[in-house]
Each structure stands twice: as structure tokens, then as C-alpha cells.
Symmetry: C2
Subunit: 760 residues, 2 copies
């Protein structure tokens, strides 16, 4: 391979660094209006009256309430239950109630004030466990949006046979996506009665579907264009459908372009987060460390609407027992409605919560048995040929053990495990690890959406452009795909251009989530490239009088038996002269997956594996945890661009560290009170530890050049690696995230581990 | 057929009527600059110095002269000879010399004034016949850009055998396209170093190529989007490449979006026109009217640069002898450089000039023989199986005779031919006819460009959108193609949406000229529809347990043996559930054509045929000619939308009438002096005669549903039909167009035909 596997410069690096990238808020259209959203201050309330006051009929001022929606007041996603505007009842504090648009942005706050909404507050429920038994009715009989389960072996027998059993409840918090760019959309009415949407998003086809439904028009008349997207992390999966629909409604009633950009405050207040989780875990093992039984109950606090909760829950369910051979398993999971902000997708998608529990439990087992935690994993990690606890027999691309071994070796685990924690003074070091897996793609629960299109166009001057339906949100997809296109067709990397992501360029390609873009769009591009390459090679074969199988296209030249014989652009000129079709649509459908509650199944097309080792220093006087070093080893199938893989590993490590130690959404009466970055603290560059990325390549036979999805895993497992390291440093186990100084200090105090300052 | 052949409402009718269409001048981009062009006042001059005066280095003011062009200063078309900016020498009055951009449009005239250009005037040549012998060197040895010829039979023998010979020289004038919307472009630099172009144009792929060449960047980074285009008529074939390149140069140097909209004055001054022509014609016939010899010398005044002249000349050459069987033919043609505005494409593309000559000559032959002009045509018009004078044996779709017979019948020709001209008083009526043919598509001279792409995308809600690479400029292409897509896939017409024309959506689809869009894009769409229809029918066959061949998709339903069994949208939902590929790229390559000078060849894929009958009233006191009625019969292969065909017939008739009677570009020292619509007169609604359209359908076996190209023919032949009618009314033959009152009066005077007002 000439291009794939090399660290080409990011396609978007230079122009982003130079400030040339165009974000949605950089857009302006003639006669554009600016929009704002009036939101419910109550977590649960009947809307008795909406009174626009003196603004009604005012020139160039437009309102929309739920009664003005021409189509459906529901965003299509799974249950299609989240309305664009509260339909008579608001179910969380921050829910959108009225939309307003005006010619100047500065007018919006005052206009929002002038609209009076009369509420009748209703009883609300905030705790998912209480909600299941509450009289407050948010969904069905018991407020449970979704529930999954599976059983493997005989769980009771498993525990009977266990020599050691650990049992505990773990709690994980909200995590705010904290994308640099808040949600934003511009809706532009088209002459033919349609709507163009420009915005920051992961999933343009979701937005297309939503806007068409909400406006009651054909999807063929809704064209959605992704602008440069300043971070997403799952927070721009389903949410942009809300924002786009709101902008589109105002554009529809006004007949003018409408821009709606959320402030940071309303974004944190009203947009989805990582689900808080409660994980009750019981794990049994034999004396030699062999896992014999895992029983997990997983409860997600979904908030007011289901949105993606069923999917998030399903993924968490599948991932509940970690990457281990476990003969007896019982998993029960519940996504429960509460009167809080709806939760949704976030890097890891329901897995980080259960991983925190399982990897904490693994360390407890190791401790009980007096084993090295790495050894315990070594013993239990799945190998090729093994069957996952949920019933998927692994036939290839299983690099779990290799990530463990490499991370252990590279981190100096064995020595540090012995030496750390024995420091003089009040700062104690510890080293901890976690091993994870991640099902790539939408899996069986989302299989109907798991297909992608791609388009390639070769220009007469010997260059190429392509379009896909998955999006760049900072993860490096553009670059990886440009490398794949260059490799497939023999272009130099710099001769590849990328077309805007636009729902009308390729068919519905599913969401850009679940670490699926490289595999899905990569394969769709390979399929698109195939007829083009065949045409070019056929012509080259004629021109050079060489059989086609001896011809290779690479790096801008036509090669015969290893020597360049002709520039590629000359060959392309000839193809144009012959009027060959130099454009192609490719399509790719994800491989087989299956799932049944109880039995489980072949949940995902392939799995990625990783081991995280964290080294921390805990200040016994303050409870502050400093992360010194993270070693993160990932089986990515094939690193299309190693530098980008390393970048992902680094970014994910820091984001996982935020989840472990800092990030802490606080609510009061169900309402988020720390909705800005002065009170919701995320890690910055000064918090970033040394990060040692390790790339393991166990090729995925159905992936492009062996690649499998990767973008989410870097965050996953960081939290338990850190809390396991804290335990190693201090002997204190953190069972609820984040491990803020306050919480750690409290645990240290309880355990009598605080050393008071002693003057020498 | 359910949709094709029916007069569905124009796709763009409502939104154009409501003022919702978005033209280039409606666009605004943040930080956009406005541009202007400083032009040479001299028809031929050396540029000694360009001095930006006090503007140099001024904030937010940008200049470009030919020395600042990063790529090639030549627009790629045929010889690629027209520079974007005069490269040291200006060769016509109005040629672009310096570009300027500023933040406000109002600043531009003053900025243009402030730039001082020093010229050294050079000797200039304005007459093409003089130019061929002039010392002024504009091109090669003799200023002849291009020359074609062919010989059939033995021309000398032909004339020896002729019983009657007519010989004359005919002259035709410039014709200004007079599109409602002047030329305009916006260039927007893209973050990745490319350029997006939005504008009014016929040929986005020409613009893409030009901008890439001029900026020296890859075509894969130049994306050209056609905006609603307010008329074109050939004037937006090559010219928009100029305008776009100018805007792009300023966008390139400034790094900002740049809008350049031509004023009417500079548009008429500097943009291409229909070539003035000189046609020397000698025609011989036997006593019974059989044509025996045609000798034509055709000279086009090309102006300063070749641009499309070779193509225009070639088409005129092919069309020189009309739609007649002529055994002995000699055609010689020349496109000659002069120091005037370059001429280019205009509806008819070099044919209207020779048609004027040939159809005048036909009437002269008829007169010499005492035959009815219609009978003379009847005798000589080609039939299926005949060979055209340039060597193309006609195998089908030859409706020439039928158009003649229907027009003659419908117009009441026979009676009027006898009664007209015998009126009392000073107003005399006449009726005249002309029969024409037109080679559809680019033909052998442009065959390398004669292919088109198309894209169809079916959305999950059971609707469809498509994209093509040919453009709507008012001719009705969108509607015709939407009907074809609906017909092919069984959609209702209203469920079809059309995507923007954008060079990155389909491969280079050639220019939108030569009446080729319906055939080329129509066939490309049919090819795109094929796999989609097959997939849908396969699924329907399974769902309905009926063999595929019994299933029809039409009007939004799935039919089995004539009865609707299932809504199409339900079938499409199922296809989506199965993850079928619901998008497709189609491609179509034009059928075989060939050409060799001397022998001629199979010049075009198919020919369209028409007969025009004009009825006029000539005022003997003023020379004013009033057109009373035009009967226009066209063999269109198949009228995809009969109302649109009739609309074209009407528009073309009026435009042809302008060419015949009114439109008269005046030059002084080579410079156009009547460059606005107060002095360049075109017909208005009050001049429009009654127009009787007749549709003849001799299906073209390779056309979509039998359709063949049509948009240009309505203008063609109108002029000679009118001048033949003038002759019928007055006995005066107009050999030079336009037949303005002044010219007609002068001819009447010369011929002693003026009746002075006699008081009774």
C-alpha cells in the first residue's frame, strides 16, 4: 500500500489552523432572520396559555408554537417521541416551548421575554429507580422506555461454583459533550417549496427526515448540508434534528432564511448528555482467576424523552460483561424516564458506564485472589474462536490480548505495580488498568440503517473528488477516506478533493456514529472506485499493450511490473476522449448481525479491543488526582493514518479523564444549574497527562484494508483505569464518578487514609 | 405513457411567477466584494501601461491585470485563444483589461476611472472579406480561424444540366441574445484552496474547466453551481467562462467572495453575438423544379477571438443546402477574424444565416420556374432513405414533408398565395415559407463532448429527486426531464424534485446547447432509472407473488395487469427496509457521428425538421413590415410536454421575427454603439403575431420516448419565411437582414413600388 497506513496530513488541518473553515454561524443569506427558543422553566408543567403579548402581528417578527406546526410535532428517531415544541405539557426544564425569529439577533432576548407562557406545574420525578415505581406517568406503565436481557449458562450454578464473589453498585454521572461549537442551523426555503438546511451535525439524513416530517413535505425537497462541525461526540447525532426543525419551522412561516445558534447555556441545559447510570454488578471467579459468573443490572436515567435511549441501552447491555470469557451470565437493563433533560449518544454509547463497573469489579476479584490485575485479564480475555458472553463466536480480528500485553510491557506495569504507592509523603502514586471491547457499527439493533453510499468523480485533468454521507466532526474521517480513494485509484493524496456532505449526493448512509464511518463509507468508496479502476486499467492495457493484470495504478502513475509507464492524468485524458463514464456511485451494506433478547446473538459486525493503563498521583491532603501517564493500546484492524489514530487516542484519553475526575453536571429540582464552562469543568491542555498510544493491527477481513471502527474506544476504559490506579495508590475504591477531589477526599477520610500535614 | 406526452405544469412556473426564483444577483456571502471590469476603448491597441493610481495598496481594494493571473490567461474552448484579460494587446473595443473589486458596488465606477491605462492604438480591420487580405494579423496567415468544405457529385456538371440558375449574395447581421438577465457570477474561495462558482450559465462544465485553468488549480476543487438563469440563447455557452474567471481571479487574490454582474451596456458591448454572415449562393434546378446543384460560400465575421467560431461555422457548413436532395454540391466556408466583439453561439448556431440564403434562393427558383414555393419544397425535401447533401443517409425520424404539408394546409397557404398582394391601398399582404432542418446534438465536430450523466435518488418516503449536468435556461428542460423520471419509475409528476445543477453531482455532461438536453440527459436519466426500477419490481414481484413482467410502476402505484395493487411509497419503504441501493448514476453517450472535410459524413445523430409560414403586411409608405401570423410546424420526434413545445415555437417565432425585421447592432470604428435596449430594438409582446404551432411526431428511435432535440429550430427559418412573404406582398427581395422599415422602404423605392399617399 502506498497511501493507506501512512500519516498524510489531515485534509482539513491547514484551513482549520488558518481560520478558513466555514461553520454554520459564518453563513449569511439575504433577508435572513435570527431565531430564539423560549423554554420551560419547570421540569414538568402543563402549558396553560402562550401569549405573544404586543409582538403579535408585528412586522418581521415571527412565532411558532406547537399549534403552528404543519407536519408532525415529533422527531423521528426510535419512538419518535421528542416533540419539537412542548405539546401542551413540558416534561423537562429547558424544553422548547415557543420559537421566535426577528431580523436582528440582538432583538431575540427581549422578544423571548415579551412572550408570556402560563404554566401549571405538575409533580415531577428525577430518580430513575424511583421513577419505575412513581405515580408520575411519563411512559407506559412503569416509565421504562426500553429493557433488554440475556442469559448465558446457568447464573445460579455459576455463582455456586465461584470461589470468590464481588458484588457492588456503581454510579456514573452525566457527561456533557462540550463540543467547541454549540448546536446551530440555518434553514433556507427553496423556490420549489422545499427547505435547505445548513448546520453542525453528525447525521444529515436524520435531519432530512426530521425536517420533512415536521414541515409535512417530501424528503426529496429537503436538502441537508453539513457545515464544518466543531465537535460532536454523539451530541450532534439526534439533537441537530431538533435545532434544524426549529429553524425550519420559522423559515417555513416567514418564507425567509432563519439562523438558530444555541448559546452555550441553552445548549447544556436542553441538549442530550451521556446517561447517568446505575450498575449493580455481581462477579464470581474461580481461585485461579477464571471468571465463572457475571450478573449485571444496568439502569439508565433517560430523561424526559426516549430519543436514542433504547439503542444506548442495548449497546450497554451487550457490553456489560467486558471482553471476557464468561460461561454464566445474566444481564438485565432498563432505560427509565425522568423529568430531566433527555440523554442520548455520547462516545461509547452506553458502554462506558458498564465498563466502569465491570473493570472495577475485575480489580476487586484480582485483589480478593491476590492476583495481578493484568494477569487476571490475561487469563480471561477472549481469543479468536471464543464466544462472547452474549453469544457471538469470534472468527477474526481479536487483538484484545495483544493490546493488554503491549500496554503492560510499554507502561512498565510490572515494576510500577510494585513500586507505586510506596512514596514518602502525602502524594501517592498508583497504576491501574482496564480492558475493553467495542462493537463496531450500528449492530443488530440498528441494522436497517447500516448501509452507506459514496460517489466518486474523476475530473478530466486527472484529479478526483468524492462525496460520502457520513460526516467529519473532527475525528479525521475525511483524511482516512481520501487516503482510501487515492489508494484505490492510484492518485496521489493531494489530488483528492472532498465534496460537501449533502443528503442529495448519496443515498441515506445512516448516521455517523458507532465508529462506523471508515468501514462503511470506506467500503462504499471502494465499491464506487471499482468500475472506474477497471475502466482505466482496460484502457491502459490497450495503450500499453500489456495484460490488465500486470497494470497497477499508484501515486499518480500507471505501473507495469513495478515501473511507471505513463502518468495517470494522461490515461484519464484518454478515458475522457473515449467518453467513458468517469463517475460512480458505490454502496455498501454492513455484514450480518443478529440479536434476540435472552439468547443474544452476533450483535456487531466486528469488535475493537483496547487496554488502558493509567498512572496517577493522589494528593492525600486534598483528594486531588493527577493523571501522570496513560498508556492506551488499541486494536484498530488497520490504522489508515497512524497519526490520526494516535490523535484519537490522545483526545479520548483526556475526555475519559474528564469523565473520571472532573465533569459533574449538577441539577436542582431536575434543572441543570452549571450550564457553562465556568462551572462545568472539563480538562484542558494543562491537565493532559503524557499519553502513550499503541497501535495493534488485527485486520478485519471485511474492513477497507483491514480497518475497523475506532473513534469511540479511546475514551472507553479510561475512567476505571484511573479509579483502579487510585485504589492502587490509596486503597480507596471510587464507586461513583467523577472522582472529584471532594469525593476522593471524603473516601480517603472515611478510610482513614488522609495524612495531615506534618511540619518537619 | 402516463406522464410523457402530457402538458404538466412547468416545474419552475409557480416560483418564477411568484418572484421566488434565486438568480445570481440575489446571492450574498459574508465579506463579499463587488467587481468591475475596465475595458479597452480601442478596437486594436497595445497596452503600454496600467497604472492603478492612488488605489494601489488601498485597504479592501483589489486589482487584477493579465500579469497577475496565476494560471493560463486563456479560456479553454476550441483554440483556447480568448484571454481573460487582454495580454498586452487589446483586440476589440470592450475587451477586458483590468479587474477591480471593492466592498461596495457603488465604488466600482470611480475605481475603474481612477485606473489609468495607456494605449498605443494599432491598425484594425472590421470587414471579414478585407480581413482575409489585410496586413493586420489577428490569426495565422490570413486571419481565417477555420474553414470547412465538402463536395458532392460534380458541381460544374450540375450547373451545366440546370435549366435555371439563381445566384446572389446574402448578408445577415449580428443578433444580440438579449437575455433578460445579464451575465453574472459569484466566486467563493473554499477552505481547501478551491473555488465555488455560482452564476447564470448554460455550460457549468465549461466554467469549471476555465476557472481551474485560469487559477491553475485542479478541476476537482472547482465546483460550479448554476443559478436560475434568466435566458441564454447561446449567449451563456462560452461567455460565462469569462465572467466566472474574472470573478474567480478577484476572489483568488482577495481570498473573499466576489460578485460580478455585468451591466446591460458592457454585456452587449463585450459578450458574443450571432455571427454576421455573408453567403454567396448559386442554385441550379431542372425545369420540373428538381434541384441539381448548390454552390455556397459562407463567410462568418468571427470578431477578435475564435472562441466557438469553428463549431458555429461547421454547423452552418453542414446546413448550407437545406433539407433537400441535391446531387451536386459545393460548400466552402470561412470564419474570419476582425477587430470586433467575438461572435459565438446563438440559437441556430451558424445555420440561420445559410438558411436565410438558401430559402431565399428556393423562392427565387420557384419564381423563375413559375412554381408554387411549397410545391418546389415538396418536390425536393428529403424522405426517409434519402441521403443528405453532406452524405448522411437518413434511416428514420424524417418528418420534413409532413411539416410542410401540415403547415401549408393549416395556414391556408394555397388560397392566400393567390389572394394576398392584391389588396387595395398601400398595405400589401404576402405569405412566404421556409423549410429547415437541424442536426440535433453536438455532431461529429463536438462528439468528444457528447455524453451526459444523471443521478436519481429515491427517498424513503416514496419520492424522488434527480440531478443532471445540463441546464434550465427557460427552455423547459427541467419539466421535460421530471416527466421522464416520473414515467420511468412510476412516480406522480408532483413527487419528483430537481436538484441543483452542480458540476460535482454528475460527470462532465457537455454543454447545454445544440438542442441536446432532452435527448442526452433524458437518456442518461433513463439509464439511471433502470437499476432502480428493476430493484423495485423485483421486490414488488416477491411481495405480490406475481412475475416481474406483469408488474408496472405508474402514477404512484404498483400495477398488476392494469390494476393498482400497492402504493409505490409502500414498496419503496420495503426497499429501504431491505437496505437496497436507492440511488443511481446514469450515463449516456451520443450515437455515432462522423465527418471529413470533402466527403462530409454522418454529421449528427438525428435531424429535426420544420416548416415556417409567415404572413405579413407591408406598408408601402413606410416600409414597415407587420407580421400577421406565423404557422410553424415542427417534427420534434416526440413532444414530451406539448404545451412547452408550443411555448418554444412561439418564443422562437418572435425571436426569429426580431432577427428578420428589427435587431440591428450598429458599430462605429468596430465598436458597438447601440448597446442598450433603447437603441437595440427587439420585439415585444405588441409585435407578436398570431402564432400557430403544429407538432409532428416522427419518433427518434434512440431518443427518450422518441424525443429529439428541438429548442433551437423555432427561430430558424422565420427570417426567410418573412422576407419571402415580403417578396410575395411587394415583389421586392430583401437580401440583407434585418428588413427594417428603412431598408424595405429603400428597396421599395429602388423598385418603384412605393405608393405615395393619394387623397381620395
Amino acid at each position: 500500500m502506498e497511501i493507506v497506513g501512512k500519516s498524510h496530513r489531515r485534509y482539513d488541518a491547514l484551513y482549520k489552523a488558518r481560520g478558513k473553515a466555514v461553520y454554520v454561524d459564518d453563513l449569511y443569506f439575504p433577508h435572513m432572520l435570527y431565531a430564539g427558543v423560549k423554554r420551560s422553566p419547570y421540569p414538568h408543567a402543563r402549558i396553560k396559555k402562550i401569549d405573544p403579548g404586543g409582538l403579535k402581528g408585528k412586522r418581521e417578527i415571527f412565532f411558532v408554537s406547537y399549534e403552528d406546526i404543519p407536519g408532525a410535532n415529533k422527531l423521528p428517531i426510535i419512538f419518535d417521541d421528542w416533540p419539537v415544541l412542548a405539546p401542551g405539557v413540558a416534561r423537562f426544564a429547558g424544553e422548547a416551548v415557543v420559537l421566535v425569529a426577528a431580523p436582528k439577533k440582538e432583538m431575540i432576548p427581549e422578544l423571548l421575554d415579551e412572550i408570556k407562557v402560563e404554566y401549571e406545574p405538575l409533580e415531577a420525578v428525577f430518580d430513575p429507580e424511583l421513577s419505575m415505581k412513581s405515580k408520575v406517568r411519563l411512559f407506559g406503565d412503569n416509565n421504562v422506555f426500553a429493557s433488554y436481557y440475556y442469559d448465558t449458562g446457568d447464573i445460579e450454578k455459576g455463582f455456586r461454583e465461584a470461589d470468590v464473589i464481588v458484588e457492588d453498585t456503581y454510579r456514573t454521572p452525566y457527561q456533557e459533550h462540550a463540543y467547541i461549537e454549540t448546536q446551530g442551523m440555518v434553514a433556507v426555503p427553496t423556490p420549489d417549496g422545499g427547505m435547505e438546511i445548513y448546520g453542525s451535525m453528525q447525521c444529515p439524513f436524520y435531519v432530512q427526515n426530521a425536517v420533512a416530517e415536521v414541515l409535512g413535505i417530501g424528503m426529496n425537497k429537503v436538502r441537508v448540508v453539513q457545515m464544518e462541525t466543531g465537535g460532536a461526540f454523539g451530541g450532534k447525532e439526534d439533537m441537530p434534528s431538533q435545532v434544524a426543525s426549529q429553524a425550519a419551522l420559522l423559515a417555513y412561516v416567514s418564507g425567509r432564511p432563519v439562523k438558530l445558534i444555541y448559546s452555550r447555556e441553552e445548549d447544556i441545559l436542553s441538549m442530550s448528555k451521556r446517561h447517568p447510570g446505575i450498575i449493580k454488578s455481581r462477579v464470581g471467579a474461580k481461585k485461579d482467576g477464571t471468571l465463572i459468573a457475571v450478573d449485571t443490572t444496568y439502569i439508565l436515567d433517560s430523561g424526559a424523552y426516549a430519543t436514542l435511549s433504547p439503542s444506548v441501552l442495548w449497546r450497554g447491555t451487550v457490553h456489560a460483561c467486558g471482553p471476557y470469557r464468561v460461561p454464566n451470565v445474566r444481564v438485565r437493563s432498563y432505560a427509565v424516564a425522568t423529568n430531566k433533560v433527555p440523554c442520548g449518544a455520547y462516545r461509547g454509547f452506553g458502554a462506558p458506564q458498564v465498563i466502569f463497573a465491570m473493570e472495577s469489579q475485575m480489580d476487586r476479584i484480582a485483589e480478593e485472589l491476590g492476583m495481578d490485575p493484568a494477569e487476571l485479564r490475561e487469563k480471561n480475555l477472549v481469543r479468536e474462536g471464543d464466544t462472547m458472553p452474549f453469544g457471538h463466536k469470534l472468527t477474526g480480528s481479536v487483538g484484545a490480548l495483544e493490546t493488554l500485553r503491549k500496554a503492560v510491557e510499554k507502561s512498565g506495569w510490572k515494576v510500577k505495580r510494585k513500586t507505586y504507592g510506596k512514596e514518602e509523603g502525602f502524594k501517592k502514586r498508583g497504576i491501574g488498568l482496564a480492558t475493553i471491547f467495542y462493537g463496531v457499527g450500528l449492530g443488530a439493533a440498528g441494522k436497517h440503517l447500516d448501509r452507506s453510499g459514496a460517489y466518486i468523480q474523476i475530473t478530466e485533468d486527472g484529479k478526483v473528488a468524492f462525496a460520502v454521507g457520513t460526516t467529519e466532526m473532527g475525528q479525521g474521517m475525511k483524511t482516512a477516506l481520501a487516503q482510501i480513494v487515492a489508494e484505490e485509484l492510484g492518485f496521489r493524496y493531494e489530488d483528492v478533493a472532498i465534496l460537501p456532505v449533502d443528503t442529495s449526493r448519496v443515498p441515506d448512509s445512516g448516521p455517523t456514529v458507532a465508529s462506523r464511518a471508515t468501514v462503511m463509507s470506506g467500503n462504499a468508496l471502494r465499491n464506487a472506485a471499482k468500475p472506474l479502476r477497471e475502466t482505466l486499467i482496460k484502457i491502459a492495457s490497450e495503450l500499453l499493450s500489456v495484460p490488465p493484470e500486470k497494470i497497477e495504478l499508484k501515486l499518480g502513475d500507471v505501473y507495469v511490473e513495478g515501473s511507471p509507464k505513463m502518468p495517470l492524468n494522461k490515461l484519464i485524458k484518454e478515458a475522457y476522449r473515449r467518453r467513458e463514464h468517469m463517475a460512480s456511485q458505490g454502496y455498501y451494506v454492513a455484514p450480518h448481525t443478529s440479536w434476540e433478547n435472552k439468547e443474544g446473538g452476533e450483535a456487531y459486525m466486528v469488535y475493537a479491543w483496547a487496554t488502558k493503563i493509567a498512572e496517577v498521583e493522589v494528593d492525600l491532603l486534598t483528594g486531588e488526582v493527577k493523571v501522570l501517564r496513560i498508556t492506551s493500546a488499541h486494536d484498530v484492524g488497520k490504522a489508515v493514518n497512524p497519526t490520526l489514530v494516535e490523535g484519537q487516542i490522545e483526545g479520548g484519553a483526556v475526555q475519559g479523564m474528564g469523565y473520571a475526575l472532573m465533569e459533574d453536571i449538577l441539577t436542582e429540582g431536575g434543572k441543570i444549574i452549571n450550564n457553562n464552562f465556568s462551572t462545568y469543568i472539563i480538562p484542558t491542555i494543562v491537565d493532559a497527562p503524557e499519553i502513550i498510544p499503541i497501535i495493534v493491527e488485527r485486520e478485519f477481513d471485511k474492513g477497507p484494508y483491514g480497518a475497523k471502527g475506532f473513534a469511540e474506544q479511546p475514551l472507553m476504559g479510561i475512567a476505571p483505569a484511573i479509579t483502579n490506579a487510585i485504589y492502587h495508590a490509596t486503597g480507596v475504591r471510587i464507586k461513583e464518578l467523577p472522582a472529584t477531589p471532594e469525593r476522593v477526599f471524603e473516601e480517603l477520610l472515611k478510610a482513614g487514609k488522609v495524612e495531615l500535614w506534618k511540619e518537619k
